[in-house]
């Protein structure tokens, strides 16, 4: 029999980083207990996993680390309900489970040779961070053209991955535009909403693809900016969220039209979304 896809692989929680001042978003680093699980867990940026806590349940969470970071996987999780709260209560050293990798990924093959514009808002930056780390890895950087990143949060304290943002800012092979809706006394960076900043940056749509993740309202106001810049719906990708259980297209919960977000998504181009029923 094939390996049971419902059985979580045991992992150890090796590191916890509290990302935001409100303390409800943390990044969890796991290492696999079994060597063969670590080897079998081959993923690409954009995929997700089911984090499993026995006695509580499971939650689908985007993989925040990049496959180029070997020896561990990371997830950035907001404390929301039963499972995510239980996760937030865990301490380093705890053992739990992960299923995956699940779903499709950002369209890596398609992005190859193209300029890539990454737009993120709030903590929905997780699989975008995976994508950035993947692209700027020395073995991969030459496969992609210019990389432009616009990332925003409501206030400075809510920006996640601050150390990495700072490190990326220092590089000359990636253009970073980090912004907050409203700064504080200590903030010396950019102020302004993501759509506005995108407009100011005005990336060329020539041989370029945008991938965008964030709160629905940010996406709604940002898309017109990219249409105006000449990006076609084929060249804008996003990741959908639907309530999930099985993660493998069986439980019938996460469909948008004839597609199951868990199995056929979560990544879709706007052109693909146009063909689906507008129910998500």
């Amino acid at each position: 029999m094939q390996k049971n896809p419902y059985i979580p692989m045991p992992v150890d929680l090796v590191k916890i980083v509290t990302e935001v001042t409100t303390k409800d978003i943390k990044t969890f680093r796991f290492s696999f207990v079994n060597k063969e699980d670590a080897e079998n867990f081959k993923y690409l940026p954009g995929q997700f996993g089911e984090l499993s806590i026995f006695g509580k349940g499971e939650s689908p969470i985007g993989i925040a680390s990049s496959p180029t970071q070997e020896g561990y996987i990371e997830f950035t999780v907001q404390k929301a309900g039963v499972v995510t709260s239980a996760l937030h209560d865990l301490e380093e050293g705890a053992r739990m489970g992960v299923r995956g990798p699940l779903g499709n990924s950002w369209p890596i093959d398609y992005l190859e040779g193209k300029n890539v514009v990454i737009v993120g808002g709030g903590f929905a930056f997780t699989t975008l961070r995976s994508m950035i780390n993947y692209m700027i890895h020395e073995g991969n950087r030459s496969r992609f053209g210019n990389i432009t990143v616009v990332y925003g949060a409501r206030e400075p304290g809510l920006l996640i991955y601050k150390d990495e943002l700072a490190a990326w800012e220092k590089r000359d092979d990636i253009d970073m535009y980090v912004t907050v809706d409203k700064g504080d006394e200590a903030w010396t960076g950019r102020e302004g909403f993501v759509p506005t900043v995108c407009k100011e940056v005005g990336p060329s749509s020539e041989n370029a693809v945008t991938i965008i993740c964030g709160p629905p309202i940010m996406i709604r106001f940002t898309l017109p900016v990219f249409f105006e810049l000449g990006f076609s719906k084929e060249n804008i990708y996003t990741s959908l969220e639907m309530r999930m259980k099985c993660g493998i297209g069986k439980c019938g919960r996460c469909n948008v039209g004839e597609k199951y977000v868990c199995k056929d998504g979560p990544v879709f181009s706007l052109a693909e979304l146009d063909k689906l029923t507008p129910e998500y």
Binding site: M1, P5, P10, M242, R243, R253
Partner: protein, 341 residues
């Protein structure tokens, strides 16, 4: 394909003999209901009943099923078992529509990339003997409109057809032929039996008087996710879920954890797209907030999405949802109304 004849009065003995060698589920009378039960000594399997109220999908996809067990250890909570393996068994007396539903469920649970081991294990270890509907039992039967036939062998390993004084037994799959070895000496079927069956098959098809425009509405569904028609079907719906629980092809489920002391298990239970919680996210966002959206989902899933994905309608025309909906919502009427738009 092996074909045999079984004398009418011998059938019950043969099935009972099988039940001495392996687990046999058969339709038996239970007060006013007919239910599939484990056949035990002295029980009489029914061969001329209409159909069971509950679809036999629960044999492969139980209402509640343990997926794994775990227990508290020093290290935390760890896996202690993966659910039980299924026994070899025979499912006797399944109606052709329900046998066909297994083929549709296979398309969901037995895919190339992701296989559902719980379903597949039981399915593989079960041999299905179906009873052709020589006389389709209900006025609500509409199998012929959705790709089925009252005497279809699809999904069955052995098909029994009532020829009057005897049964024609067709052993359609290797699994069925293996069962033949356990059924003792049976006389070979002659051409006359085959001819009678052909005749009965035509008659049974004609006896299905309920017709729906199954495939015909697909182009309309493709184009009309938004349409005033969707406001007209759900008003009286109680969102009770009866239609989905009784449906042989509905396969939605929930996964949850149950803990007692230091032991726990992860279980799956049937769920229903007719419930508002089904798609509700923790943030409060819910893509399907109204019963209108949920009814559209149910119909679209059966007559469009499943067709898009698997080139088959996810309804076998058993009529259960029509018979048992407490407010008489009739999926046949809905489909036919759509065909007239």
């Amino acid at each position: 394909m092996e074909k045999r004849l079984i004398k009418k009065d011998a059938l019950s003995g043969i099935i009972n003999k099988l039940s001495e060698q392996m687990l046999v589920y058969a339709p038996v009378k239970d007060e006013d209901n007919v239910l599939f039960k484990v056949l035990e000594k002295g029980m009489e399997p029914l061969a001329d009943y209409s159909n069971t109220r509950n679809a036999p999908k629960n044999f492969f996809f139980p209402k509640t099923e343990t997926m794994m067990r775990y227990m508290r250890t020093e290290r935390g909570i760890e896996l202690s078992g993966e659910g039980e393996g299924a026994p070899e068994m025979v499912l006797f007396g399944v109606r052709p529509c329900d046998a066909r539903s297994f083929i549709l469920l296979d398309k969901v649970f037995d895919q190339e990339k992701y296989k559902d081991p719980y379903y597949i294990d039981k399915r593989e270890k079960t041999t299905i003997i179906s009873l052709a509907c020589v006389h389709p039992p209900y006025s609500t039967c509409f199998c012929t409109s959705v790709g089925g036939h009252p005497m279809s062998s699809e999904g069955a390993d052995v098909v029994l057809t009532d020829l009057g004084d005897k049964y024609l037994a067709e052993f359609v799959t290797p699994k069925g032929e293996k069962l033949l070895e356990k059924m003792g000496d049976l006389s070979k079927a002659d051409d006359a039996a085959e001819a009678t069956k052909e005749e009965l098959s035509k008659k049974s098809e004609e006896a299905i008087t309920s017709h729906v425009a199954g495939r015909e509405i697909k182009p309309w569904l493709d184009e009309n996710f938004e349409h005033p028609f969707w406001d007209t079907i759900h008003q009286s719906c109680l969102a009770c879920g009866t239609c989905t629980y009784l449906c042989p092809t509905c396969h939605c489920f929930d996964i949850s954890d149950e803990v007692k002391g230091s032991d726990g298990k992860r279980i799956r239970t049937w769920d229903s797209c007719m419930y508002w919680l089904f798609t509700k996210e923790t943030s409060g966002h819910n893509p399907r907030t109204s019963q209108k959206q949920r009814w559209r989902q149910r119909l679209m899933h059966k007559f469009k999405y499943f067709v898009d994905n698997f080139d088959a309608i996810a309804c076998v025309g058993c009529g259960r949802c029509v018979m048992y909906c407490p407010v008489n919502i009739d999926i046949r009427k809905i489909v036919n109304d759509i065909s007239k738009l």
